[in-house]
Protein backbone atom coordinates (compact mmCIF):
# COMPACT_ATOMS: atom_id res chain seq x y z
CA UNK A 1 0.00 0.00 0.00
CA UNK A 2 1.52 3.38 -0.91
CA UNK A 3 2.33 5.52 2.05
CA UNK A 4 1.60 9.19 2.45
CA UNK A 5 4.98 9.56 4.09
CA UNK A 6 7.17 9.42 0.98
CA UNK A 7 9.74 12.18 1.40
CA UNK A 8 9.74 14.98 -1.19
CA UNK A 9 12.62 14.76 -3.64
CA UNK A 10 12.23 18.14 -5.32
CA UNK A 11 14.72 20.05 -3.20
CA UNK A 12 17.11 17.13 -2.68
CA UNK A 13 20.79 17.64 -3.25
CA UNK A 14 22.14 16.89 -6.69
CA UNK A 15 25.69 15.93 -5.78
CA UNK A 16 26.97 17.23 -2.42
CA UNK A 17 30.42 15.61 -2.56
CA UNK A 18 31.26 17.56 -5.71
CA UNK A 19 30.27 20.93 -4.26
CA UNK A 20 33.35 21.46 -2.17
CA UNK A 21 37.01 20.55 -2.49
CA UNK A 22 37.94 17.63 -0.24
CA UNK A 23 38.49 18.67 3.37
CA UNK A 24 40.69 15.80 4.48
CA UNK A 25 44.14 14.51 3.75
CA UNK A 26 42.96 11.20 2.32
CA UNK A 27 43.37 10.63 -1.41
CA UNK A 28 40.05 10.63 -3.23
CA UNK A 29 39.47 8.95 -6.53
CA UNK A 30 36.44 8.47 -8.73
CA UNK A 31 36.32 5.32 -10.86
CA UNK A 32 33.95 4.12 -13.57
CA UNK A 33 32.17 0.81 -12.84
CA UNK A 34 33.88 -0.89 -15.78
CA UNK A 35 37.35 -0.10 -14.41
CA UNK A 36 36.46 -0.58 -10.73
CA UNK A 37 37.67 -4.10 -10.16
CA UNK A 38 40.92 -3.65 -12.07
CA UNK A 39 41.67 -0.40 -10.24
CA UNK A 40 40.94 -1.85 -6.79
CA UNK A 41 42.98 -4.93 -7.59
CA UNK A 42 45.89 -2.69 -8.52
CA UNK A 43 45.49 -0.72 -5.28
CA UNK A 44 45.33 -3.95 -3.30
CA UNK A 45 48.63 -4.96 -4.85
CA UNK A 46 50.16 -1.55 -4.02
CA UNK A 47 49.71 -2.16 -0.29
CA UNK A 48 46.18 -0.96 0.38
CA UNK A 49 45.67 -4.17 2.28
CA UNK A 50 42.68 -3.26 4.41
CA UNK A 51 39.21 -2.43 3.17
CA UNK A 52 38.05 -0.20 5.99
CA UNK A 53 34.54 0.30 4.77
CA UNK A 54 32.22 -0.16 1.87
CA UNK A 55 29.05 1.90 1.88
CA UNK A 56 26.73 3.75 -0.44
CA UNK A 57 24.79 6.98 -0.78
CA UNK A 58 21.76 7.86 -2.88
CA UNK A 59 21.45 11.08 -4.93
CA UNK A 60 18.12 10.68 -6.74
CA UNK A 61 18.49 13.88 -8.79
CA UNK A 62 21.80 12.83 -10.27
CA UNK A 63 22.96 10.47 -13.02
CA UNK A 64 24.39 8.05 -12.04
CA UNK A 65 22.13 7.89 -9.06
CA UNK A 66 24.19 5.98 -6.48
CA UNK A 67 27.69 6.35 -5.15
CA UNK A 68 29.35 3.25 -3.75
CA UNK A 69 32.12 4.40 -1.44
CA UNK A 70 35.22 2.35 -0.64
CA UNK A 71 37.57 3.41 2.14
CA UNK A 72 40.99 1.79 1.99
CA UNK A 73 43.87 1.74 4.44
CA UNK A 74 47.50 1.37 3.45
CA UNK A 75 49.56 -0.55 5.97
CA UNK A 76 53.26 -1.35 5.90
CA UNK A 77 53.81 -5.09 6.10
CA UNK A 78 54.40 -6.70 9.51
CA UNK A 79 55.13 -3.71 11.78
CA UNK A 80 55.33 -4.77 15.42
CA UNK A 81 55.15 -1.44 17.21
CA UNK A 82 53.19 1.74 16.75
CA UNK A 83 56.42 3.60 15.95
CA UNK A 84 57.25 1.23 13.10
CA UNK A 85 53.79 1.67 11.73
CA UNK A 86 54.69 5.19 10.62
CA UNK A 87 51.86 7.19 9.16
CA UNK A 88 49.30 4.94 7.50
CA UNK A 89 47.24 6.45 4.72
CA UNK A 90 43.57 6.36 3.92
CA UNK A 91 41.98 6.51 0.54
CA UNK A 92 38.46 6.93 -0.69
CA UNK A 93 37.31 5.43 -3.97
CA UNK A 94 33.90 6.47 -5.25
CA UNK A 95 32.06 4.67 -7.98
CA UNK A 96 28.85 5.95 -9.56
CA UNK A 97 26.15 3.35 -10.20
CA UNK A 98 23.24 3.91 -12.54
CA UNK A 99 19.77 3.23 -11.17
CA UNK A 100 18.64 1.55 -14.40
CA UNK A 101 21.41 -1.03 -14.19
CA UNK A 102 22.61 -1.21 -10.58
CA UNK A 103 25.44 -3.70 -11.02
CA UNK A 104 29.01 -3.62 -9.77
CA UNK A 105 31.71 -6.28 -9.68
CA UNK A 106 32.32 -7.76 -6.24
CA UNK A 107 35.59 -7.11 -4.42
CA UNK A 108 35.07 -9.92 -1.92
CA UNK A 109 37.75 -11.85 -3.82
CA UNK A 110 40.28 -9.13 -2.86
CA UNK A 111 39.16 -8.38 0.69
CA UNK A 112 37.10 -10.84 2.73
CA UNK A 113 35.67 -7.85 4.59
CA UNK A 114 33.65 -6.93 1.51
CA UNK A 115 31.38 -9.95 1.99
CA UNK A 116 28.97 -8.53 4.55
CA UNK A 117 29.49 -4.93 3.49
CA UNK A 118 28.31 -5.72 -0.04
CA UNK A 119 25.37 -7.69 1.28
CA UNK A 120 24.39 -4.68 3.34
CA UNK A 121 24.60 -2.29 0.38
CA UNK A 122 22.50 -4.72 -1.64
CA UNK A 123 20.01 -5.03 1.20
CA UNK A 124 19.54 -1.32 1.84
CA UNK A 125 20.18 0.21 -1.62
CA UNK A 126 19.41 -2.59 -4.08
CA UNK A 127 22.81 -2.52 -5.77
CA UNK A 128 23.82 -5.95 -7.07
CA UNK A 129 27.38 -7.18 -6.82
CA UNK A 130 28.21 -9.59 -9.61
CA UNK A 131 30.25 -12.57 -8.50
CA UNK A 132 29.45 -12.22 -4.79
CA UNK A 133 29.35 -15.72 -3.26
CA UNK A 134 26.22 -15.24 -1.17
CA UNK A 135 24.28 -12.10 -2.05
CA UNK A 136 21.17 -12.04 0.10
CA UNK A 137 19.60 -9.64 2.56
CA UNK A 138 21.50 -9.19 5.80
CA UNK A 139 19.77 -6.60 7.99
CA UNK A 140 16.18 -6.72 6.76
CA UNK A 141 14.06 -9.91 6.82
CA UNK A 142 14.59 -12.14 3.79
CA UNK A 143 11.06 -11.50 2.57
CA UNK A 144 11.34 -7.71 2.66
CA UNK A 145 10.40 -5.66 -0.38
CA UNK A 146 12.12 -2.42 -1.29
CA UNK A 147 15.43 -0.88 -0.29
CA UNK A 148 15.08 1.22 2.86
CA UNK A 149 18.05 3.57 2.56
CA UNK A 150 17.03 4.85 -0.83
CA UNK A 151 15.83 8.42 -0.54
CA UNK A 152 12.43 7.67 -2.10
CA UNK A 153 11.67 4.93 0.39
CA UNK A 154 8.71 5.88 2.63
CA UNK A 155 9.53 6.89 6.18
CA UNK A 156 6.54 5.10 7.63
CA UNK A 157 4.44 2.10 6.73
CA UNK A 158 0.85 2.33 5.53
CA UNK A 159 -1.56 4.01 7.93
CA UNK A 160 -2.88 1.54 10.45
CA UNK A 161 -6.50 0.59 10.13
CA UNK A 162 -8.55 2.20 12.79
CA UNK A 163 -9.13 -0.26 15.57
CA UNK A 164 -12.79 -0.80 16.46
CA UNK A 165 -14.15 0.72 19.64
CA UNK A 166 -13.90 -1.83 22.43
CA UNK A 167 -17.12 -3.71 22.91
CA UNK A 168 -16.82 -3.40 26.69
CA UNK A 169 -17.33 0.35 26.59
CA UNK A 170 -19.32 1.34 29.60
CA UNK A 171 -21.99 3.99 29.77
CA UNK A 172 -19.77 6.02 32.08
CA UNK A 173 -17.08 6.24 29.41
CA UNK A 174 -19.42 7.91 26.98
CA UNK A 175 -19.71 11.65 27.50
CA UNK A 176 -23.01 12.70 29.00
CA UNK A 177 -25.46 13.75 26.35
CA UNK A 178 -23.59 12.09 23.49
CA UNK A 179 -25.77 9.51 21.81
CA UNK A 180 -23.75 6.30 21.38
CA UNK A 181 -23.41 5.05 17.85
CA UNK A 182 -22.10 2.11 15.84
CA UNK A 183 -20.40 -0.68 17.68
CA UNK A 184 -20.55 1.10 21.01
CA UNK A 185 -24.31 1.30 20.73
CA UNK A 186 -24.49 -2.36 19.78
CA UNK A 187 -22.28 -3.28 22.72
CA UNK A 188 -24.37 -1.24 25.12
CA UNK A 189 -27.55 -2.81 23.83
CA UNK A 190 -25.97 -6.23 24.30
CA UNK A 191 -25.10 -5.32 27.88
CA UNK A 192 -28.66 -4.20 28.55
CA UNK A 193 -30.02 -7.46 27.15
CA UNK A 194 -27.69 -9.52 29.32
CA UNK A 195 -28.68 -7.62 32.41
CA UNK A 196 -32.37 -8.18 31.65
CA UNK A 197 -31.70 -11.87 31.09
CA UNK A 198 -29.89 -12.14 34.46
CA UNK A 199 -32.71 -10.45 36.37
Amino acid sequence: MPSTQTPPLAGAAVDPPSLRPPIEDAAIERVEPAQLHARLEALHGEGWTMLLDLGAADYPQRTPRFDVVYHLLKLPSQPRSAEQLGAPQRMRVLCGVDAADPHLPTVSDLWKAADWAEREVYDLFGILFDGHPDLRRIQMPHTWEGYPLRKDYPLRGPARERSPRPAFALKSNVQAGTPPSGETLAALQEQEKERERDT
Partner: protein, 406 residues
Protein backbone atom coordinates in the same frame (compact mmCIF):
# COMPACT_ATOMS: atom_id res chain seq x y z
CA UNK B 1 25.34 -27.33 -5.91
CA UNK B 2 28.42 -26.19 -4.09
CA UNK B 3 28.17 -26.29 -0.34
CA UNK B 4 30.28 -23.22 0.23
CA UNK B 5 28.13 -20.82 -1.75
CA UNK B 6 24.58 -21.64 -0.69
CA UNK B 7 22.85 -20.64 2.52
CA UNK B 8 22.87 -23.38 5.13
CA UNK B 9 19.57 -25.20 5.34
CA UNK B 10 18.88 -28.75 6.49
CA UNK B 11 18.03 -29.75 2.91
CA UNK B 12 21.36 -28.59 1.56
CA UNK B 13 23.47 -30.22 4.22
CA UNK B 14 21.67 -33.55 4.27
CA UNK B 15 22.78 -33.99 0.68
CA UNK B 16 26.38 -34.73 1.59
CA UNK B 17 28.51 -36.04 4.41
CA UNK B 18 27.78 -36.87 8.02
CA UNK B 19 27.34 -33.30 9.12
CA UNK B 20 24.25 -31.78 10.62
CA UNK B 21 22.94 -28.27 11.02
CA UNK B 22 22.58 -26.68 14.40
CA UNK B 23 21.03 -23.29 14.95
CA UNK B 24 22.54 -21.44 17.88
CA UNK B 25 20.69 -18.34 19.01
CA UNK B 26 19.36 -15.73 18.54
CA UNK B 27 18.21 -16.28 22.13
CA UNK B 28 21.34 -17.82 23.54
CA UNK B 29 23.07 -16.33 26.58
CA UNK B 30 26.56 -16.61 25.20
CA UNK B 31 25.82 -14.83 21.95
CA UNK B 32 25.93 -11.49 23.80
CA UNK B 33 22.83 -10.07 22.27
CA UNK B 34 20.82 -11.33 19.36
CA UNK B 35 23.17 -13.30 17.17
CA UNK B 36 22.08 -16.42 15.39
CA UNK B 37 24.76 -18.81 14.25
CA UNK B 38 23.78 -21.48 11.78
CA UNK B 39 26.41 -24.14 12.28
CA UNK B 40 27.32 -27.11 10.20
CA UNK B 41 28.81 -29.58 12.66
CA UNK B 42 30.40 -32.98 12.60
CA UNK B 43 30.19 -34.40 16.06
CA UNK B 44 31.40 -31.62 18.34
CA UNK B 45 33.47 -29.69 15.83
CA UNK B 46 32.30 -26.90 13.60
CA UNK B 47 32.71 -27.35 9.86
CA UNK B 48 31.17 -24.07 8.84
CA UNK B 49 29.55 -21.20 10.67
CA UNK B 50 27.16 -18.77 9.09
CA UNK B 51 26.20 -15.88 11.38
CA UNK B 52 22.76 -14.39 10.84
CA UNK B 53 22.55 -10.79 11.97
CA UNK B 54 19.91 -8.10 11.68
CA UNK B 55 17.74 -9.05 14.64
CA UNK B 56 18.42 -5.67 16.21
CA UNK B 57 18.17 -3.61 13.03
CA UNK B 58 16.40 -0.39 13.92
CA UNK B 59 17.25 1.79 10.92
CA UNK B 60 19.38 4.26 12.87
CA UNK B 61 21.08 5.56 9.73
CA UNK B 62 17.71 6.25 8.10
CA UNK B 63 16.36 7.85 11.24
CA UNK B 64 19.42 10.08 11.50
CA UNK B 65 18.79 11.41 7.98
CA UNK B 66 15.47 12.80 9.14
CA UNK B 67 16.59 14.55 12.33
CA UNK B 68 18.48 17.80 12.90
CA UNK B 69 22.24 17.48 13.08
CA UNK B 70 22.13 17.74 16.86
CA UNK B 71 19.13 15.44 17.25
CA UNK B 72 20.75 12.73 15.12
CA UNK B 73 23.46 12.49 17.75
CA UNK B 74 20.98 11.02 20.22
CA UNK B 75 20.20 8.02 18.01
CA UNK B 76 23.81 7.64 16.92
CA UNK B 77 24.87 7.38 20.55
CA UNK B 78 22.65 4.32 20.82
CA UNK B 79 24.57 2.29 18.24
CA UNK B 80 27.37 1.05 20.44
CA UNK B 81 25.48 1.23 23.69
CA UNK B 82 28.46 0.16 25.77
CA UNK B 83 30.58 3.05 24.56
CA UNK B 84 28.17 5.92 23.90
CA UNK B 85 30.81 8.66 24.00
CA UNK B 86 32.91 7.01 21.30
CA UNK B 87 29.95 7.20 18.93
CA UNK B 88 29.01 10.76 19.66
CA UNK B 89 32.65 11.90 19.68
CA UNK B 90 33.21 10.49 16.20
CA UNK B 91 30.03 12.00 14.82
CA UNK B 92 30.66 15.36 16.45
CA UNK B 93 34.23 15.49 15.09
CA UNK B 94 32.97 14.70 11.60
CA UNK B 95 30.34 17.43 11.70
CA UNK B 96 32.88 19.91 13.06
CA UNK B 97 35.18 19.18 10.15
CA UNK B 98 32.34 19.80 7.72
CA UNK B 99 31.62 23.07 9.52
CA UNK B 100 35.32 23.97 9.48
CA UNK B 101 35.46 24.72 13.20
CA UNK B 102 37.84 21.94 14.26
CA UNK B 103 40.62 24.40 15.18
CA UNK B 104 38.34 26.57 17.29
CA UNK B 105 37.16 23.94 19.77
CA UNK B 106 38.18 25.07 23.28
CA UNK B 107 41.08 23.19 24.86
CA UNK B 108 39.07 22.27 27.94
CA UNK B 109 36.32 20.76 25.81
CA UNK B 110 38.88 18.58 24.04
CA UNK B 111 40.26 17.40 27.38
CA UNK B 112 36.79 16.51 28.61
CA UNK B 113 36.24 14.59 25.37
CA UNK B 114 39.41 12.60 25.90
CA UNK B 115 38.34 12.01 29.50
CA UNK B 116 35.02 10.47 28.52
CA UNK B 117 36.42 8.65 25.54
CA UNK B 118 38.83 6.81 27.86
CA UNK B 119 36.31 6.34 30.67
CA UNK B 120 33.97 4.72 28.20
CA UNK B 121 36.78 2.45 27.03
CA UNK B 122 37.29 1.20 30.57
CA UNK B 123 33.55 0.80 31.12
CA UNK B 124 33.13 -1.11 27.87
CA UNK B 125 36.07 -3.41 28.57
CA UNK B 126 34.59 -4.00 32.03
CA UNK B 127 31.38 -5.34 30.50
CA UNK B 128 33.37 -7.42 28.05
CA UNK B 129 35.60 -8.89 30.76
CA UNK B 130 32.68 -9.61 33.08
CA UNK B 131 30.52 -11.36 30.50
CA UNK B 132 33.40 -13.10 28.77
CA UNK B 133 34.61 -14.67 31.99
CA UNK B 134 31.02 -15.49 32.93
CA UNK B 135 30.81 -17.48 29.70
CA UNK B 136 33.87 -19.40 30.83
CA UNK B 137 32.45 -20.12 34.24
CA UNK B 138 34.22 -17.47 36.31
CA UNK B 139 31.39 -15.86 38.21
CA UNK B 140 33.11 -13.47 40.60
CA UNK B 141 34.90 -11.39 37.95
CA UNK B 142 31.54 -10.10 36.80
CA UNK B 143 30.85 -8.42 40.14
CA UNK B 144 34.26 -6.75 40.31
CA UNK B 145 33.99 -5.36 36.78
CA UNK B 146 30.41 -4.19 37.08
CA UNK B 147 31.25 -2.42 40.32
CA UNK B 148 33.99 -0.51 38.51
CA UNK B 149 31.68 0.23 35.60
CA UNK B 150 29.03 1.50 37.99
CA UNK B 151 31.44 4.20 39.18
CA UNK B 152 31.95 5.31 35.58
CA UNK B 153 28.22 5.33 34.91
CA UNK B 154 27.85 7.57 37.97
CA UNK B 155 30.23 10.03 36.34
CA UNK B 156 28.22 9.92 33.11
CA UNK B 157 25.06 10.52 35.07
CA UNK B 158 26.66 13.50 36.80
CA UNK B 159 27.35 15.30 33.51
CA UNK B 160 24.44 14.17 31.36
CA UNK B 161 21.66 13.12 33.68
CA UNK B 162 21.50 9.63 32.14
CA UNK B 163 23.65 6.67 33.03
CA UNK B 164 23.89 4.94 29.70
CA UNK B 165 23.43 7.68 27.10
CA UNK B 166 24.38 11.04 28.57
CA UNK B 167 24.51 12.84 25.18
CA UNK B 168 27.01 15.18 26.78
CA UNK B 169 29.32 15.96 23.86
CA UNK B 170 28.03 18.56 21.44
CA UNK B 171 29.04 19.94 18.09
CA UNK B 172 31.33 22.77 19.19
CA UNK B 173 32.25 21.44 22.63
CA UNK B 174 30.44 19.89 25.57
CA UNK B 175 27.10 20.57 27.15
CA UNK B 176 28.19 22.60 30.15
CA UNK B 177 31.24 22.34 32.36
CA UNK B 178 31.90 19.45 34.72
CA UNK B 179 29.54 19.73 37.68
CA UNK B 180 30.57 20.38 41.25
CA UNK B 181 31.94 17.31 43.01
CA UNK B 182 32.73 15.57 39.73
CA UNK B 183 36.48 15.72 40.16
CA UNK B 184 36.29 14.26 43.67
CA UNK B 185 34.38 11.24 42.37
CA UNK B 186 36.82 11.00 39.49
CA UNK B 187 39.81 11.07 41.87
CA UNK B 188 38.27 8.26 43.91
CA UNK B 189 37.91 6.20 40.74
CA UNK B 190 41.49 6.90 39.67
CA UNK B 191 42.78 5.74 43.05
CA UNK B 192 40.60 2.66 43.11
CA UNK B 193 41.49 1.54 39.61
CA UNK B 194 45.03 0.09 39.98
CA UNK B 195 43.99 -2.13 42.89
CA UNK B 196 40.94 -3.32 41.04
CA UNK B 197 43.06 -4.18 38.01
CA UNK B 198 45.38 -6.20 40.25
CA UNK B 199 42.35 -8.11 41.52
CA UNK B 200 41.11 -8.82 38.01
CA UNK B 201 44.49 -9.97 36.80
CA UNK B 202 44.88 -12.08 39.92
CA UNK B 203 41.55 -13.77 39.29
CA UNK B 204 42.13 -14.64 35.65
CA UNK B 205 45.55 -14.15 34.19
CA UNK B 206 47.27 -17.16 35.77
CA UNK B 207 44.07 -19.12 36.30
CA UNK B 208 44.70 -22.59 34.76
CA UNK B 209 41.04 -23.08 33.80
CA UNK B 210 40.89 -19.70 32.09
CA UNK B 211 44.17 -20.37 30.32
CA UNK B 212 43.03 -23.81 29.17
CA UNK B 213 39.91 -22.32 27.68
CA UNK B 214 41.60 -19.40 25.90
CA UNK B 215 45.25 -20.15 24.98
CA UNK B 216 45.45 -21.30 21.38
CA UNK B 217 41.69 -20.95 20.95
CA UNK B 218 40.05 -18.83 18.25
CA UNK B 219 43.37 -18.05 16.61
CA UNK B 220 43.30 -15.32 13.99
CA UNK B 221 46.37 -14.82 11.82
CA UNK B 222 47.47 -11.29 10.94
CA UNK B 223 46.83 -11.78 7.22
CA UNK B 224 43.30 -12.98 7.91
CA UNK B 225 42.66 -10.21 10.40
CA UNK B 226 43.64 -7.56 7.85
CA UNK B 227 41.64 -9.19 5.10
CA UNK B 228 38.53 -9.41 7.29
CA UNK B 229 38.93 -5.75 8.22
CA UNK B 230 39.38 -6.56 11.92
CA UNK B 231 40.52 -3.54 13.94
CA UNK B 232 41.02 -2.60 17.56
CA UNK B 233 42.25 -4.95 20.30
CA UNK B 234 41.50 -8.00 18.14
CA UNK B 235 43.85 -6.76 15.42
CA UNK B 236 46.52 -5.71 17.91
CA UNK B 237 46.39 -9.17 19.50
CA UNK B 238 47.33 -10.54 16.08
CA UNK B 239 50.44 -8.38 15.94
CA UNK B 240 49.67 -5.11 14.17
CA UNK B 241 49.96 -1.93 16.24
CA UNK B 242 47.29 -0.02 14.37
CA UNK B 243 45.51 2.40 16.65
CA UNK B 244 43.51 5.33 15.22
CA UNK B 245 44.58 7.50 18.17
CA UNK B 246 48.18 7.15 16.98
CA UNK B 247 47.73 6.79 13.23
CA UNK B 248 45.23 9.63 12.73
CA UNK B 249 45.24 11.63 15.99
CA UNK B 250 42.11 13.55 16.87
CA UNK B 251 40.85 15.79 19.66
CA UNK B 252 44.35 16.28 21.08
CA UNK B 253 45.42 12.63 21.48
CA UNK B 254 48.84 13.49 20.06
CA UNK B 255 49.58 15.31 23.33
CA UNK B 256 49.21 12.29 25.62
CA UNK B 257 51.69 9.60 26.48
CA UNK B 258 50.42 6.08 26.09
CA UNK B 259 51.54 2.77 24.62
CA UNK B 260 49.73 0.69 22.05
CA UNK B 261 49.86 -2.82 23.55
CA UNK B 262 50.25 -5.64 21.06
CA UNK B 263 50.64 -9.42 21.15
CA UNK B 264 51.53 -11.79 18.37
CA UNK B 265 49.67 -14.97 19.29
CA UNK B 266 46.30 -13.86 17.89
CA UNK B 267 44.31 -16.16 20.18
CA UNK B 268 41.59 -15.44 22.73
CA UNK B 269 44.13 -15.16 25.55
CA UNK B 270 46.14 -12.59 23.60
CA UNK B 271 43.01 -10.50 23.08
CA UNK B 272 42.32 -10.74 26.80
CA UNK B 273 45.81 -9.49 27.65
CA UNK B 274 45.68 -6.68 25.11
CA UNK B 275 42.37 -5.42 26.49
CA UNK B 276 43.63 -5.51 30.08
CA UNK B 277 46.76 -3.60 29.04
CA UNK B 278 44.54 -1.13 27.21
CA UNK B 279 42.54 -0.47 30.35
CA UNK B 280 45.77 0.38 32.14
CA UNK B 281 46.83 2.67 29.30
CA UNK B 282 43.44 4.36 29.50
CA UNK B 283 44.09 4.94 33.19
CA UNK B 284 47.45 6.46 32.26
CA UNK B 285 45.78 8.89 29.87
CA UNK B 286 43.13 9.73 32.46
CA UNK B 287 45.84 10.62 35.00
CA UNK B 288 47.33 13.06 32.50
CA UNK B 289 43.92 14.54 31.73
CA UNK B 290 43.28 14.99 35.45
CA UNK B 291 46.14 17.46 35.89
CA UNK B 292 45.03 19.42 32.82
CA UNK B 293 41.50 19.73 34.14
CA UNK B 294 42.73 22.06 36.89
CA UNK B 295 42.93 24.76 34.26
CA UNK B 296 39.54 26.44 33.81
CA UNK B 297 38.21 27.66 30.49
CA UNK B 298 35.25 27.68 28.15
CA UNK B 299 33.81 24.31 27.10
CA UNK B 300 31.76 25.46 24.13
CA UNK B 301 32.72 27.30 20.98
CA UNK B 302 31.73 30.99 20.97
CA UNK B 303 29.97 30.84 17.61
CA UNK B 304 26.27 31.55 17.85
CA UNK B 305 25.64 30.04 14.40
CA UNK B 306 26.53 26.61 15.80
CA UNK B 307 26.07 26.77 19.55
CA UNK B 308 23.24 28.44 21.39
CA UNK B 309 24.41 31.49 23.36
CA UNK B 310 24.56 31.19 27.15
CA UNK B 311 21.14 31.17 28.76
CA UNK B 312 21.86 34.23 30.93
CA UNK B 313 22.39 36.45 27.88
CA UNK B 314 18.97 35.74 26.43
CA UNK B 315 17.13 38.18 28.66
CA UNK B 316 19.65 40.93 27.91
CA UNK B 317 20.38 40.68 24.23
CA UNK B 318 18.03 40.64 21.26
CA UNK B 319 20.59 38.83 19.05
CA UNK B 320 21.15 36.16 21.68
CA UNK B 321 17.43 35.52 21.85
CA UNK B 322 17.15 35.21 18.07
CA UNK B 323 20.15 32.88 17.83
CA UNK B 324 18.83 30.74 20.64
CA UNK B 325 15.44 30.50 18.96
CA UNK B 326 16.96 29.61 15.60
CA UNK B 327 19.25 26.92 17.02
CA UNK B 328 16.45 25.33 19.02
CA UNK B 329 13.71 25.52 16.41
CA UNK B 330 15.55 24.67 13.19
CA UNK B 331 19.08 23.66 14.16
CA UNK B 332 22.26 24.80 12.48
CA UNK B 333 23.17 24.37 8.83
CA UNK B 334 26.26 22.56 7.64
CA UNK B 335 28.00 23.46 4.36
CA UNK B 336 27.73 20.77 1.69
CA UNK B 337 30.46 18.18 1.34
CA UNK B 338 31.48 14.76 2.55
CA UNK B 339 33.94 13.61 5.16
CA UNK B 340 35.20 10.38 6.70
CA UNK B 341 35.99 10.64 10.39
CA UNK B 342 37.24 7.78 12.52
CA UNK B 343 38.01 7.29 16.19
CA UNK B 344 39.39 4.37 18.17
CA UNK B 345 36.35 2.98 19.92
CA UNK B 346 36.82 0.16 22.47
CA UNK B 347 36.11 -2.28 19.65
CA UNK B 348 38.25 -0.80 16.90
CA UNK B 349 38.06 1.80 14.20
CA UNK B 350 34.66 3.42 14.36
CA UNK B 351 34.11 5.60 11.32
CA UNK B 352 31.41 7.86 9.98
CA UNK B 353 31.14 8.84 6.34
CA UNK B 354 28.97 11.94 6.61
CA UNK B 355 27.44 13.73 3.64
CA UNK B 356 25.84 17.14 3.99
CA UNK B 357 23.75 18.85 1.32
CA UNK B 358 23.88 22.21 3.06
CA UNK B 359 20.71 21.68 5.06
CA UNK B 360 19.95 21.37 8.74
CA UNK B 361 19.77 17.57 8.59
CA UNK B 362 22.49 15.07 7.71
CA UNK B 363 22.07 13.87 4.14
CA UNK B 364 23.74 10.53 4.78
CA UNK B 365 25.48 9.06 7.81
CA UNK B 366 27.22 5.86 6.85
CA UNK B 367 28.71 4.04 9.82
CA UNK B 368 31.78 1.88 9.77
CA UNK B 369 30.92 -0.31 12.74
CA UNK B 370 33.99 -2.11 14.08
CA UNK B 371 31.82 -4.89 15.55
CA UNK B 372 30.38 -5.80 12.15
CA UNK B 373 33.79 -6.37 10.59
CA UNK B 374 35.20 -8.06 13.69
CA UNK B 375 32.23 -10.39 13.98
CA UNK B 376 32.45 -11.32 10.33
CA UNK B 377 35.82 -12.91 11.04
CA UNK B 378 34.00 -15.63 12.99
CA UNK B 379 33.42 -17.27 9.60
CA UNK B 380 37.17 -17.73 9.36
CA UNK B 381 37.78 -18.52 13.04
CA UNK B 382 35.05 -21.03 13.80
CA UNK B 383 35.77 -23.91 11.36
CA UNK B 384 37.80 -26.62 13.05
CA UNK B 385 36.98 -25.42 16.56
CA UNK B 386 34.65 -27.10 19.03
CA UNK B 387 31.19 -25.70 19.67
CA UNK B 388 32.21 -24.92 23.24
CA UNK B 389 35.10 -22.84 21.92
CA UNK B 390 32.77 -20.90 19.68
CA UNK B 391 31.49 -19.21 22.81
CA UNK B 392 35.06 -18.13 23.56
CA UNK B 393 35.54 -16.93 19.99
CA UNK B 394 32.48 -14.70 20.04
CA UNK B 395 33.27 -13.38 23.49
CA UNK B 396 36.87 -12.58 22.61
CA UNK B 397 35.82 -10.54 19.57
CA UNK B 398 33.51 -8.47 21.79
CA UNK B 399 30.70 -7.62 19.36
CA UNK B 400 27.95 -5.19 20.35
CA UNK B 401 24.79 -5.82 18.43
CA UNK B 402 23.40 -2.34 18.59
CA UNK B 403 26.33 -1.48 16.36
CA UNK B 404 26.38 -4.60 14.17
CA UNK B 405 22.72 -4.24 13.22
CA UNK B 406 22.19 -0.50 13.72
Amino acid sequence: MSLSTTPLTPEVVSLEGNSMVLSMGPQHPSTHGVLQLVLEIEGESVVRADPEIGYLHTGIEKTAENLFWSQAQTVIERMDYLAPESNSLCYVLGVERLLGITDRIPKRAERIRVLFSELTRIASHCVWLGTHSLDLGAMSVFFYTFDLRENILDLQEAVGGARMHPNYLRVGGCNGDLPEGFLDKFDTLLQKFPGRMRDLRGLLQANPIFQDRTIGIARLSLEDAISWGVTGPSLRASGLAYDVRRAFPYTGYEGYEFDVPTRTEGDAYARFLVRLDEMEQAHRILTQVRTQLEEPGPVMIADTKVAAPPKETIALSMEALIHHFKIVSEGFRVPPGDVYQAVESPRGELGYYIVSDGGNRPYRVRTRPPSLYNLQAIKGIAPGNLIADLVVSIGSLDPVFGEVDR
